[in-house]
Symmetry: C2
Subunit: 246 residues, 2 copies
């Protein structure tokens, strides 16, 4: 019997004994959506780093670098975490170094917790994520990146969507956060954008003219690849490489 849990903030990760589980990092607005888009589109890999300074070090070595803080592109970087920025033909086959406010920090936190199997999910690769979890046949922890350790409704909803599908496919849960997320998603699924009206992303991102980005981020199943950490890179995943890296 495999179980699914939801961790609603990276600040709670230490309570979850995550190191022997598959960890699925979710940051719907916008980093995990951008990563799933990039890998789906054909970018060779995303190298997630926790700090702007680390990204600058890679930039000095000649890497393409992307950095976002507080929803905006950091000065001196080619782009931030808009999923549209990663869909450019000249980027196909390239490696991109990325640092973001929350998602890359969540990935970094999971690595430091000793997690060997990390994959990236968002609404845009929802079905592929669920299929991958089922293939891997393991206990899974859905890690919501949130916003500066606060709960983000959109990340929790995406986790809830995954929970519901996993429960339908035979996993169990004993996790109250998973139950909450699952039931919130049942309320939201017919109109996710409507359900998010009034939530904190509007305060954070509403003034940045990102409506097109946000609409894109809620589109289910745009991509069929599931990015996974192999070494220090997120690459198009396969079941074989995930098990091998464990």
């Amino acid at each position: 019997m495999n179980y699914v849990e939801v961790c609603v903030s990276p600040a709670l990760l230490d309570s979850y004994h995550a190191n022997d589980k598959l960890v699925v990092v979710i940051d719907v607005f916008r980093a995990s959506t951008a990563i799933c888009t990039a890998i789906g589109y054909g970018i060779q890999s995303i190298i997630p780093v926790a700090t702007v300074d680390e990204a600058l070090t890679w930039q000095d070595k000649g890497y393409i670098t992307a950095a976002e803080r507080n929803g905006e592109v950091v000065a001196g970087f080619e782009f931030g975490n808009s999923p549209f920025a990663f869909q450019k033909p000249e980027l196909i086959g390239k490696k991109i170094v990325l640092t973001t406010s929350n998602c890359t920090k969540a990935i970094n936190k999971a690595e430091k917790a000793g997690v060997n199997n990390i994959i990236i999910s968002s609404f845009v690769n929802l079905s592929a994520t669920v299929d991958r979890i089922i293939e891997l046949n393991t206990n899974v922890l859905l890690l919501c990146a949130g916003w500066k350790n606060h709960v983000s409704l959109e990340d929790t909803l995406c986790a809830g969507a995954i929970v519901n599908r996993l429960l339908d496919r035979g996993l169990k849960t004993r996790c109250d956060a998973a139950i909450m997320a699952s039931r919130n998603y049942l309320q939201a699924e017919s109109d996710i954008a409507g359900y998010l009206v009034g939530s904190s992303h509007q305060l954070r991102l509403g003034h940045l003219g990102l409506d097109e980005d946000l609409e894109y981020c809620l589109q289910i199943d745009q991509w069929t690849k599931v990015p996974q950490m192999v070494g220090n890179e997120l690459v198009a995943g396969s079941v074989h490489s995930l098990i091998a890296s464990a």
Copy 2:
């Protein structure tokens, strides 16, 4: 304009700038229910302490002491956190020292964060809690005690019930956890016990024969007093004493 926020785990408290807010500690199963019951019933005060060792120190001084860990009374203590244990005529007017798995630790954490105004809530004093918050006319953070830093569905539901009533009475929220809790409560309110079927409290407490306790803990508005911290004691609150302690 006053705002309401929900912190779903004490481990997230540091992210909330709680020190200038009214903090409402919620631990439905069973400590905050027991404290609200005790103060409602006429016990003079509850002295919450974080550790069993601290409680033993008070015991040595002759105080009545209660201690719960993992749902059970700690050996050597008169009682734990069953709300029925606090409804005995011989306890009226007395002070009781209490340590519990989560609630007293959450109180302690709020104190260490510099919070001056702490009150205790549960379903059993729901309306009184809401009235008190409105009287105090301040920003409020609902702090769910959870279980060992994990989210607890029953605490989040109680927070959601308070959020809904506060929104009806003019407060606003910009907190996604408050939105989630509020909407979960809307799903749950017609059958709270039914909504909790399958949640983690059954795993933790189901084998301890606490059905009567748990049923009691979900009864709305059994008591009209709101315990508040004054010095190191939880006493029957008044608006005057709360403002004075700020």
